[in-house]
Structures are given as structure tokens and as C-alpha cells.
């Protein structure tokens, strides 16, 4: 695994491409995530947002180079989180156990965390996302919003420096969406670096400090949030228009 040396950079992609059969999902992408950023990936379906997140997390093969900061802890929350047929608490404990094992393997030393500490961290994570009362409920019997919050807790509990989120609110009702957005705002306020994909420009505007627009597997625009929306308003970025429902959603 290549290690990044750039100050403040957590992950750096250099000329990264991904193919799924004949389809090119990412095409020569250069992309750097810096500490403390909240990056929104926007673009149409199939533009490469999810693939970019998967490359950042290191779970799919790609061409080009991916460099990460030494010892960087990172976690990913998927659009439809996979939860085991176990209680919410047990799902968190297994997530923590897996993360500790992986960290110990990377550091080539035994895990420093015992079961008691993992239990404490799992309960703290459930409390952080407001699910402490549902710890013993089967994760699969929770509502969509609660499942997404549990997945966020699973990611947050591993204390990642970088949290990647694939359309974390796409299948949620407005109330559940707002809950998740508030949590993400809180994570960012705590100093966690976030990269999330979304179709919701209002969400991107509210949460993100930087917006990356993807089109056909390429980065079409990579701007600060203010510059991005100025460019959209001026017609510089035509993939979205102010008339779209996502744009006009108010808070």
C-alpha cells in the first residue's frame, strides 16, 4: 500500500481508472481528500460516485495509484447498509471486532482493545446516534432511518479519521433524512473528514465545504461549495438547475 506524504492529505488518487467489463466507471481520476474537509460527490446515476468512494475505501481493484496517510483509519457507510440478523448491539460489536482485527493486522501487533472496551464503545456509538434504547432489537427489524443511523454508528464507533458515505439519505423519509444530516453535521464538527455522494444539492450545500461533480467517470468540476453554487447559478455547470426540487428544498 502506497503511503501519502502530502501535508494534510488523507487519501490521494492519481490517474485512477476502474472498468466493469466494457464499461469504464472511472476514467483517469486525480483526487485528494484533505483533513477536515466535507466533500460532496454529485452527478447523475452512473457518473462514478459510488465507484470513487469504493476506490477511496480500497475495496475494489483499479488502475492508477491510491496513496493513503500512514495509519489512517477510515470507514464506509453504504447506501443500503448490510446488517446481520443479530441485535443492533451485536452488529456494532462485530463491526468493532473486525475493525480492531484489521488495525492489528496492519500494525502487525495484537489488538489493544478487549471485549469490555468494545462493549463500551458500541454503547457510546448507539447513544451517539440515539439508538441506545434499541440496542437489543434485531437490526433487521429497525426502520430504514434507524438502520442507516446504526450503520453510521458502526462507522463512527471505529473512530475513523475519514468517513465515506454513499448516498446516506437516499432512501429515507424527510424526518429520518434530517436525523442523518444532523449526525453528519455533528461528525464534521468533531473534526471527522467526510466524503459523501448525494443527488440532493440542498444537502450538499448545507453539509459540504467542497463539491466534486462527476460526469461519465471523470471529475467535471472540483470547487469549494460557494464557487460550485455560483457556477451552477451562472450556468457554468449545467447538470443541475435551480429549478430542480433538490435545489429548491428549504430548511
Amino acid at each position: 500500500m502506497a503511503v501519502i506524504r502530502m501535508a494534510g492529505a488523507l487519501v490521494d488518487l492519481d490517474d485512477v481508472s476502474v472498468r466493469f467489463g466494457a464499461q469504464r466507471a472511472l476514467d483517469g481520476v486525480d483526487f485528494t481528500v484533505r483533513r477536515g474537509e466535507v466533500v460532496a460527490l454529485v452527478g447523475a446515476n452512473g457518473s462514478g460516485k459510488t465507484t470513487l468512494l469504493r476506490v477511496l475505501h480500497g475495496v475494489i481493484a483499479h488502475a492508477g495509484e491510491r496513496r493513503i496517510a500512514p495509519g489512517l483509519r477510515h470507514a464506509m457507510v453504504y447506501q443500503r447498509p448490510f446488517l446481520l440478523h443479530l441485535s443492533a448491539l451485536r452488529n456494532l460489536l462485530i463491526g468493532l471486532w473486525l475493525a480492531d482485527r484489521a488495525a492489528a493486522r496492519d500494525a502487525q501487533r495484537p489488538s489493544a482493545h478487549g471485549r469490555a472496551e468494545r462493549l463500551e464503545r458500541a454503547r457510546a456509538a448507539l447513544a451517539r446516534v440515539g439508538l441506545d434504547a434499541l440496542a437489543s432489537r434485531s437490526a433487521r427489524s429497525l426502520s430504514g432511518g434507524e438502520q442507516q443511523r446504526l450503520a453510521l454508528a458502526r462507522g463512527w464507533a471505529t473512530r475513523p479519521k475519514l468517513l465515506l458515505l454513499d448516498e446516506p439519505t437516499s432512501s429515507l423519509d424527510p424526518a429520518a433524512r434530517q436525523d442523518v444530516e444532523m449526525l453528519l453535521k455533528g461528525f464534521a464538527a468533531d473534526g471527522m473528514t467526510l466524503v459523501f455522494s448525494t443527488h440532493d444539492l440542498a444537502q450538499a450545500r448545507w453539509l459540504a465545504t467542497r463539491i466534486v461533480h462527476l460526469e461519465a467517470g471523470r471529475i467535471d468540476a472540483d470547487l469549494s461549495s460557494a464557487d460550485f453554487f455560483r457556477s451552477v447559478a451562472e450556468g457554468g455547470i449545467r447538470a443541475f438547475s435551480p429549478g430542480e426540487p433538490a435545489w429548491s428544498r428549504t430548511r
Partner: protein, 237 residues
């Protein structure tokens, strides 16, 4: 018609009064098939899970062979075990032909492909849904497969019940390697075949009723196994 009715009445009497021969035969059937399923589960479930997770050259051929063995006729399994255990066979020195142990071996060979193939399918389905996310959490291939077995434990219970049903209802293998010796290797299915050929319909019918009831009971249990632990409230804490 009256002959059948009289046989059925006598059969019910045998069941109600727990006829010793009937009880002994049923008990041996449970012992043999239960042991075969136990061994088949210990070997077949991990093997199936591993086949779902592992990638190696020749994997497709192994899967085709496994699917072929699903249709293995019980008499063929019996014949193979007979050839291995007969006095002139490679394992003839063990001296276990025409014993319940030989019957367990034959039935294990029958249920093993069923258990392995169904376990592989259960784990493969789970991995298709959540394999990448478990990988993203830090689980390697073996751990992902093991977690999927925990995740789909009720499906595993169901497949073991299916395997037991296959074992307890087969006749060819146990007939060949057991020899249908009264009080030693006589199980329900071999006894039904023998008593029918002898014309002792009441005992055959009684055993048939017990076997049918057992299969019905298994089906009821399979139907009651929760598809989702959450729905059944069977959360594993």
C-alpha cells in the same frame, strides 16, 4: 378394502401400544440418520461455506461435481460403501459391513453433498448481498463466510432438516450395507420393504405411518423456522 382397513387398524394398535419391534426399528432409524446428518453437518456446512467464499482454479468443476452428487442414487452410494467395506475391499479389515456404522457412513455420503451444496448457496446468497460491506468492515473471505453462516443460521437449520429427511427416507443404501438384519440393522424403510414382501401389511403400514408422520413433522418444523429472526423475536444477543 376391508383387508387394508384391518391392516391399518392393527398398525394403529402397534403404534399405540408401542410395539417393541416397532420402537426398536424407529429408534435405530433415528440413530443412524441423526448421526449421518450430524457428521454431514460438521463436514458439509464448513465445506459449503468455504466453497462460497474461496476462489481457486477448478472451482467450477468442483461445483458441477457437487451438483451432480445431489442426485446420487442411494443404491449407488450403498454399492460404493459395500465395495469399500466388503472383505475383499480396501477397508474390509475394519469388519464393519452389515453394522449400523456402515449404514451411517453410507447415509453420510448421501447427505454430505446436500448439506454442502445448500450451505454454499445460503452463504453465496448472503455474500452477494453483504459480502463487500463485510470486506469493507475488515473481514477476510473465511470470516465473511463464517459471519454469513451466523447471519443465515435459520436457513442452515432448515437445510439440516432437509438432509435428515433425505437420510431417514432412503432405503437403497442402508439395505445394501446394513443387510436388514432384525434387531441389528433393520430400519424403518428396510423393514417396510421386507414386511410388504412377506405380506405382513400391519407392521409395514405402522412403520409407513411413523415415517410419514416424521416427514410431516419435519415439514412443520421447516415451516416454523423463522425466515427472519427479527420477525420471530429470536434475536441472538
Amino acid at each position: 378394502m376391508s383387508g387394508v382397513a384391518a391392516s391399518a387398524a392393527t398398525a394403529l394398535e402397534l403404534i399405540i401400544h408401542a410395539d417393541p419391534e416397532l420402537v426398536r426399528t424407529v429408534a435405530l432409524s433415528f440413530m443412524v440418520s441423526g448421526t449421518a446428518c450430524f457428521v454431514g453437518a460438521w463436514l458439509g456446512v464448513p465445506a459449503g461455506a468455504w466453497l462460497a467464499a474461496a476462489r481457486f482454479s477448478g472451482r467450477r468443476a468442483v461445483l458441477i461435481a457437487l451438483d451432480t452428487l445431489l442426485a446420487l442414487p442411494s443404491v449407488v452410494a450403498g454399492l460404493v460403501v459395500y465395495l469399500l467395506l466388503s472383505r475383499s475391499g480396501p477397508l474390509g479389515s475394519w469388519g464393519i459391513l452389515f453394522t449400523p456404522t456402515a449404514m451411517v457412513i453410507a447415509q453420510t455420503i448421501l447427505v454430505l453433498p446436500v448439506v454442502a451444496a445448500l450451505a454454499r448457496q445460503v452463504v453465496a446468497d448472503g455474500l452477494a448481498e453483504g459480502g463487500e460491506q463485510l470486506h469493507a468492515l475488515g473481514a477476510g473471505p473465511v470470516l465473511r463466510a463464517a459471519l454469513m453462516l451466523v447471519h443465515a443460521r435459520w436457513a442452515v437449520v432448515t437445510l439440516l432438516l432437509v438432509a435428515f429427511g433425505r437420510a431417514v427416507s432412503e432405503v437403497g443404501a442402508v439395505m445394501i450395507v446394513g443387510g436388514n438384519i432384525a434387531g441389528v440393522t433393520r430400519v424403518m424403510t428396510t423393514s417396510i420393504a421386507l414386511e410388504t414382501s412377506k405380506g405382513d401389511l400391519p407392521l409395514a403400514l405402522a412403520l409407513g405411518l411413523v415415517l410419514l408422520s416424521l416427514v410431516a413433522l419435519l415439514n412443520v418444523v421447516v415451516a416454523l423456522v423463522p425466515r427472519s429472526p427479527g420477525l420471530a423475536g429470536a434475536t441472538w444477543r
